[in-house]
Symmetry: none
Subunit: 180 residues, 4 copies
C-alpha cells in the first residue's frame, strides 16, 4: 500500500496546514488551498467534508507532529530538570523554523467561538496532552510546580510570537528550571 508522491489528500492537508497556520483560518480561502495544492476544487470535498473538517485534520496532524517533536527534544535528556529545559529548547527551535507564528492551537482558538465545539475540543485536548506530558516529566513534583511550569511554557510560546523574539522563551526557561 504505497502512497503516491502526489497524493491529493496529503497535498491538501499540507497546504492547508501551511496556510491555516501562517495566515489564519478565516483569512484562508479554499481557492488558495486548492490552487497551491494543485487539485481540483471538487476534489477537496472528495477527501474532506468541509473546510472545517480540513481544519480538524490539520489540528490532529499538528498535534501528532508537534508532540513528536517535543518528545524528541525531551528524550535527549534524562533528568526532569533537563527535560524541561529541553522542552523550552524545542520552543526556541520552533520559533526559528516557523518564524514566530506561535501556537497553531491557540491561534485557531482565537478564531473560535463556543459554537465550534469540535474545534474547541481538539484544541483543549492538545493542551491537556501537553500539560499531562509535562506533568509526567515532573511526576515527583507537587501539582503547583507542574502548573507553574506549564503556565510559563505557554507564556513562552505566546509572548515570543507577540514580540517576534526569543527572550520570553529564554526567560521562561530560566524561571522554570529555577523552580525545580
Amino acid at each position: 500500500m504505497k502512497k503516491k508522491i502526489s497524493d491529493p489528500k496529503q497535498r491538501l492537508l499540507e497546504t492547508a496546514t501551511s496556510l491555516f497556520y501562517n495566515q489564519g483560518y478565516h483569512a484562508t480561502g479554499i481557492n488558495q488551498v486548492i490552487e497551491e495544492a494543485g487539485v481540483a476544487r471538487a476534489s477537496l470535498y472528495t477527501h474532506y467534508e468541509s473546510k472545517e473538517s480540513l481544519l480538524l485534520a490539520f489540528l490532529h496532524q499538528r498535534h501528532t507532529d508537534w508532540m513528536e517533536g517535543l518528545q524528541r527534544f525531551t528524550d535527549k535528556a534524562t533528568k526532569p530538570k533537563e527535560k524541561i529545559a529541553a522542552a523550552f529548547d524545542f520552543l526556541f527551535d520552533n520559533n526559528e523554523k516557523e518564524h514566530f507564528r506561535g501556537c497553531a492551537f491557540l491561534n485557531i482558538l482565537s478564531e473560535t467561538t463556543d459554537n465550534d465545539t469540535a474545534v474547541l475540543a481538539v484544541i483543549q485536548d492538545h493542551k491537556k496532552g501537553l500539560r499531562a506530558f509535562l506533568g509526567e516529566i515532573l511526576a515527583k513534583e507537587k501539582q503547583g510546580i507542574k502548573d507553574h511550569v506549564y503556565l510559563l511554557f505557554e507564556s513562552a510560546i505566546v509572548e515570543s510570537q507577540l514580540y517576534r523574539h526569543q527572550w520570553p522563551v529564554q526567560e521562561a526557561r530560566k524561571m522554570a528550571v529555577g523552580l525545580l
Copy 2:
C-alpha cells in the same frame, strides 16, 4: 457642541468592538457591523477609512478602557503584593463579564501576519504598556521577578480563555503572589 445620542461613529466602534472581539476580525463582515450599528453602508467609510482602520480604532479604544479597568483594580490596594493580586482579580472579573474571550490583542495577533505592521504595532504597544505597568508596581523587585509576574499574568489570560475556566487565573495569582 453636544453629542447626539445616536452618534453613528460611536455606535460603529461599539459594534465593531463587540464583533471583532467575540467572533474575530476576519469572521466579521462589514455587513454585520453596519447592520447591528444601524448605519448605512457608506457611513462606515465616512468615519473610518477601511475595515482595518476600524480594527485599529477598536484596539486603541480597548487599550484605553482595559488599562483603566486594570488601574481601577490596582488602585484599591496599596502594597505591591496586593496590587498584583488585584491585577489578577481584574482578569477574573473580565472573564466573568466577557465569557472567557481572552485578550483582544492576542486574539487579533493570531489573525495578523508580518505584513499588518500597523496592527502588530498597536498590539505590541499594548503589551509593552501592560508590562511597564506591572513593572512599576514592582519597581523595587528585580527584573527577573517583574518578567516572571508578567508571564504568569499573560498565561492566566490565555489559559482561562482556552479552558473556559478561572483556575489558571487563580493558580497564576497564587504563584505570582508567592514570588513577592
Copy 3:
C-alpha cells in the same frame, strides 16, 4: 462533444459585446452583464478572469467578426478601386445595422489610458490589421495613397458616429475612389 444551446461563456461574451459596444466599458456594470446573460455572478469568473479580460475577449471576437465582414464585402469586387468602394459600403452597412455606434476599438480607446497596455495593444493591432488589409488591396499604389485612403476610411467611421449620419461615409468614399 456538443456545445450546449445555452453555453454560458458564449452568452456572457455576446452580452458583454452588446453592452460594452453600445454603452461603453465603464458605464457597463458586471451586474448588468450577468443579468442579461442569465448567469450567476460567480459564473462570470469561472470563464473570465476579470472584467478586463472579458473586455479583451470582446475585442478579439470583434476583430475577427469585423474583418470577416469587411472581407466579405471586398470579395464581391475584383478591381482595387471597386474593392475600396466596397469597403466603404461595408461601413455604410454597419452604420445601418449598429445605429451609428462607430468603431468598437476607437470607442474603447477613448476609455483607455497608457496603463491599460493589454487593451491598447489589441486596439492598435486591430487598426494595424485594417491598415494592412487596405494596403494589400492597394498594393500597386504608393504608400501615400494607401495612407490617404486609410485616413479617409477612419474618418468615415468616426464622423458618421458623430453626426449619426451616412454623409461622411459617402463623401469619404467618393474622395477615396477619386484618388485611385
Copy 4:
C-alpha cells in the same frame, strides 16, 4: 469683481477638465474630483447641478479654449494653404502637450448614448464649429475640398491618439496641403 485665486468653482472645473479628459468620464468619480480640487463634497453641488452638468461645463470651456488655440495658430499665417498647414501644426502641438489623449469631444462621444442629448449636442456643435472654421479658411474652395480637409483633420487627431505618434498628423497635413 475680482476672482479669488482659490475660486472653488474654477478649481472644480479645472480638475474635472483634467480628469475627464485624461481618464474618461465614467472612470472618474466625483470623490476624486473634489479631493483633487480641494473642495467639500457638497460644494460641488453648490456650483454644478450634477456630474453631467460639470461635464457640460468642461466641454463648453474646452470648446472655447481649443478654438482659441486653433485661431492663434492659423492667425500666424495669411494664405489659406498656410493656415490649413498651421491648423495641423496646432494638432501636433496639442499632441506634445497633452500626451496624445486625442479629441476631448470624440472621447466623450464614445461614452455617450443617444439618451445623452445635451452632451451629444455640445459635441456636435463643437465639430460643426470646427468644420465651419476650416470652411471659412477655404472659402474659395469647393465644398468637396472643404470636407476632404476636414475629414483628414479629424483622422489626424484620432489616429495620432491611437498610435501615440505624430505620423498621422504629418501625413494628413501633407495630403491636405496637397489638395489646395
